[in-house]
C-alpha cells in the first residue's frame, strides 16, 4: 500500500472533512436560511447527546453533560464506494455520476477495495476489533438527494467495533498540564454519502447534484465519554489528526449544543434524544422537524451484497487471488506513524515539552517546516522550537496564513538561526531580519544583515574601549551601580548599545561592564 489511504484533496488549505449527520439526510423541509447542505470546507460533527439525568429543579444540580458523537469522514479514494465514478469535489453538476449512483433500474453495487482497506486501517489505528465478517444493510428514507430511497450502510454488523480514541487534554493555567483521556469507539462503519441539495427558496425548488452520491464514508461512533464541548472538540481533533496521518482530514465542533442542553435542563425542559442539525448560517442547532416522531428507517439486509469477509495471515485461504482478499495483518504492518507516536518521538528526540509537540502537530505543515529547519541548522532544537512556535506561528496567525503560505522558507529560517547560533547577530537583530524576510523581497538573511549593518561587533577590545568610554562619560550612573541600584546597570548597557549602534551583544556588554565595575 503506497500512499496513505484516507485523504481529502482540497486546494490551498486543508479543510475539515467530517460532515454533519442528518443535516442534509432527512430534512423534512429545509431549515430556514440553509442554502446548501454540507458545504465543502464546512467542518462539523453530528451530535447525539445523551443526557442521563432525571427531571431537574432550577439551580439545584451540577449537570455533567455527557456527549456522544457520530463523525462522518469522507474516504479518500479515486472512485466511489459501490461504483466506478470519480470522487472529486469540484466538477460540473452530475458529471461524476454513474447509472448506479443515479439509481437507475438494473444497476448493482460493487464494493471498492480501497474503501475497505481504509476502514480497516482506521479501525486498527483506533484499537478496534476488526470484524472478519461484516454485513451491509439498507437504511430507507425519502429525500431528493437520495435517489435510491435508501442508503447502503452497516447497521447490524459493522466492519470495526470496540475501539478507543486516546486524546490529550491540555489543562492548567498555562495549559501545560497534559491529561490523557480516552473515548471509547463504539463502531466504525462503511456507508454511502448522499447527493447535494441546493435550496432555491425564491423559486420554491431544490436543485440536486448527485456528484457526491455514493461516495464512501466512514462513520465513527464515539460513546458518550466526553463531559464537555472542549473535551469532545479535543477528541475530534485527535481523530482528525489520526485520519490525516492515515490519510484523511479534520473537523471542528461547537460546544453550543452542550450549553444549550444544560440551559434547557436547568429551565425544567426535557431533552429529547433527537438529532439536531447544525445550521451553519445561523450558527446554532435547530431541531429536525419530524412530524412522525421517531424515524423508522426500515433497516433490511442489502440483498445484493454477500457478507464482507476479511482475513489475517492465519486464515488467508491458500492460492487466493490477492486482489480479492484483504489481509488485516498486512494492513497493520503497513500502518503509517500515528500522531501520538510522532509527538512522543519529538519529546524524546528534541527534549521538547509535550504541549509544544501538540502545537507542532496541530498546525497543518508546521511539523514538516520544523523538521526541514532542523535539517539545515546547527542551532539547538529548543531554539528552533521557540522560533517556529512563537515567531513564525505568531506572524502566520496575525495574517491568517497557512504554513504553506509562509513567506519565510525553512531554509531561510535555518540560515537565520545559524547566524544567531554563531553569534554573528544578536537576537534582537535576528528578529529584525525575520521581519525583513517576511516582506519577501527575495533577500537572504545574510544579505539583510549586511545591508542593514546588523552584524555583531566581533572586536572584543574595541567593545571594551567603548564600555570604558561610556563609564567615563557617565560617572553618576556608575556610582548608582556601585551603590547597588539594580536598574542602573541596564542604563549603562543601554548607553553602550546606543554607542555601538546596537551591534553589540547585550550579554557581552554586561559581562564587560561588570568586570570593569568590579575592578
Amino acid at each position: 500500500m503506497a500512499a496513505p489511504m484516507l485523504r481529502l484533496c482540497c486546494p490551498g488549505r486543508r479543510w475539515a472533512l467530517a460532515c454533519i449527520d442528518g443535516c442534509s439526510r432527512h430534512r423534512r423541509g429545509a431549515p430556514n436560511g440553509c442554502t446548501s447542505s454540507r458545504k465543502r470546507g464546512q467542518s462539523s460533527v453530528a451530535q447525539q447527546p445523551f443526557i442521563t439525568a432525571q427531571k431537574p429543579r432550577k439551580g439545584e444540580h451540577e449537570w455533567a453533560a455527557v456527549v456522544g458523537l457520530e463523525i462522518h469522514a469522507q474516504i479518500s479514494s479515486k472512485s466511489k464506494l459501490f461504483s466506478g465514478s470519480q470522487v472529486h469535489f469540484a466538477a460540473p453538476p452530475n458529471s461524476l455520476v454513474s447509472f448506479f449512483d443515479a439509481s437507475l433500474p438494473g444497476t448493482l453495487p460493487v464494493l471498492n477495495r480501497r474503501c475497505v482497506e481504509a476502514a480497516v486501517m482506521t479501525g486498527l489505528a483506533l484499537n478496534c476489533r476488526i470484524n472478519k465478517k461484516s454485513l451491509f444493510d439498507r437504511k430507507h428514507y425519502f429525500y431528493a438527494d437520495l435517489p435510491a430511497g435508501y442508503q447502503i450502510t452497516q447497521q447490524r454488523l459493522p466492519i470495526a467495533v470496540n475501539g478507543s480514541l486516546v486524546y490529550s487534554f491540555c489543562a492548567g493555567k498555562n495549559r501545560s498540564q497534559v491529561i490523557n483521556k480516552t473515548a471509547r469507539v463504539k463502531q466504525i462503519q462503511l456507508e454511502q454519502d448522499s447527493g447535494k441539495s441546493l435550496h432555491d427558496d425564491l423559486r420554491s425548488q431544490t436543485l440536486i447534484d448527485l456528484n457526491r452520491a455514493g461516495v464512501g464514508l466512514l462513520e465513527v461512533v464515539l460513546e458518550p465519554d466526553m463531559s464537555c464541548g472542549e473535551e469532545a472538540a479535543t477528541a475530534v481533533r485527535e481523530l482528525q489528526l489520526i485520519l490525516q496521518a492515515l490519510g484523511t482530514s479534520q473537523a471542528n465542533m461547537a460546544d453550543y449544543e452542550i450549553q444549550r442542553q444544560i440551559n434547557e435542563l436547568e429551565n425544567g425542559g426535557e431533552i429529547l434524544n433527537e438529532t439536531r442539525s447544525f445550521d451553519s448560517k445561523l450558527g446554532c442547532t435547530i431541531p429536525m422537524r419530524d412530524k412522525e416522531g421517531k424515524q423508522d428507517y426500515r433497516f433490511m439486509p442489502e440483498p445484493n451484497l454477500p457478507p464482507l469477509l476479511l482475513y489475517d495471515t492465519e486464515s488467508l485461504p491458500a492460492g487466493a487471488d490477492p486482489q480479492q482478499v484483504i489481509d488485516i495483518d498486512r494492513i497493520r504492518e503497513q500502518l503509517p506513524e500515528l500522531p501520538s507516536v510522532t509527538r512522543e518521538k519529538l519529546v524524546q528526540q528534541y527534549g521538547m515539552l509535550p504541549e509544544h509537540s501538540f502545537t507542532l502537530l496541530n498546525e497543518v505543515g508546521l511539523l514538516e517546516f520544523f523538521q526541514n529547519v532542523m535539517k539545515e541548522t546547527r542551532a539547538e532544537p529548543k531554539k528552533v522550537t521557540s522560533w517556529v512556535l512563537n515567531t513564525l506561528l505568531g506572524f502566520l496567525k496575525q495574517q491568517n496564513l497557512a504554513v504553506s503560505e509562509s513567506p519565510v522558507t525553512p531554509s531561510a529560517l535555518a540560515e537565520l538561526l545559524n547566524l544567531l547560533d554563531r553569534k554573528a547577530i544578536s537576537s534582537s537583530a535576528a528578529k529584525q531580519v525575520f521581519e525583513e524576510l517576511w516582506r519577501n523581497e527575495g533577500k537572504t538573511p545574510a544579505q539583510i544583515v549586511s545591508e542593514k549593518k546588523l552584524e555583531l561587533m566581533q572586536d572584543q577590545e574595541a567593545l571594551e574601549q567603548l564600555c570604558h568610554a561610556v563609564m567615563e562619560g557617565h560617572p553618576q550612573v556608575v556610582m548608582d551601580v556601585k551603590k547597588g541600584n539594580p536598574r542602573a546597570i541596564n542604563k549603562l548597557i543601554g548607553l553602550v548599545r546606543k554607542v555601538t549602534l546596537s551591534r553589540a551583544d547585550p550579554t557581552v556588554i554586561k559581562e564587560i561592564l561588570e568586570k570593569k565595575l568590579a575592578s
Binding site: Q86, L111, I208, L210, P306, P307, Q323
Partner: protein, 136 residues
Amino acid sequence: MWARAWRLGLRALVGGRRGFTCKADTKGSGRITAEVIEHLERLALVDFGSQEAVARLEKAIAFADRLRAVDTDGVEPMESVLEDRCLYLRSDHVIEGNCAEELLQNSHRVVEEYFVAPPGNISLPKLDEQEPFSHG
C-alpha cells in the same frame, strides 16, 4: 375518493377495538390497525387502496407467522441467500460517469444540469386531515 372512503370505513371497523400489529404475538385476529397502515403508507409510499389489499396483507403476515412453528433456538439466522458467495472487490479506478446529459434526460425538470426537486418532502395528508366522508 375511494381511498378516503375506505380509510374512514376501516377506522370505523377497528373503532374501539385494540389494534393488532404484526409485531405482536401470533394467535391473534391478525388485524392491522389504521395507524399501522397509515405508517406503512407514509414510510414506503405504497397505497393500500382497498380493504382487499389490507386483507391480503394480513393473510401474508399470517402465512409468514407459520415460521414461528419451527424451533430455531441456537440456529444462526440466514441473512442472505448469498452468504456462501464471495463478495467481489473492485479495484479503485475511475471507469464510469461523465454522462450528465443522458441522466438529466430522465428528469421532468432540469435547471442548468441540476435535477429539480420540490423544496422538501411532500408529506401524505394525515388521517385526521382528511375531508369528512360525504354520504351517498
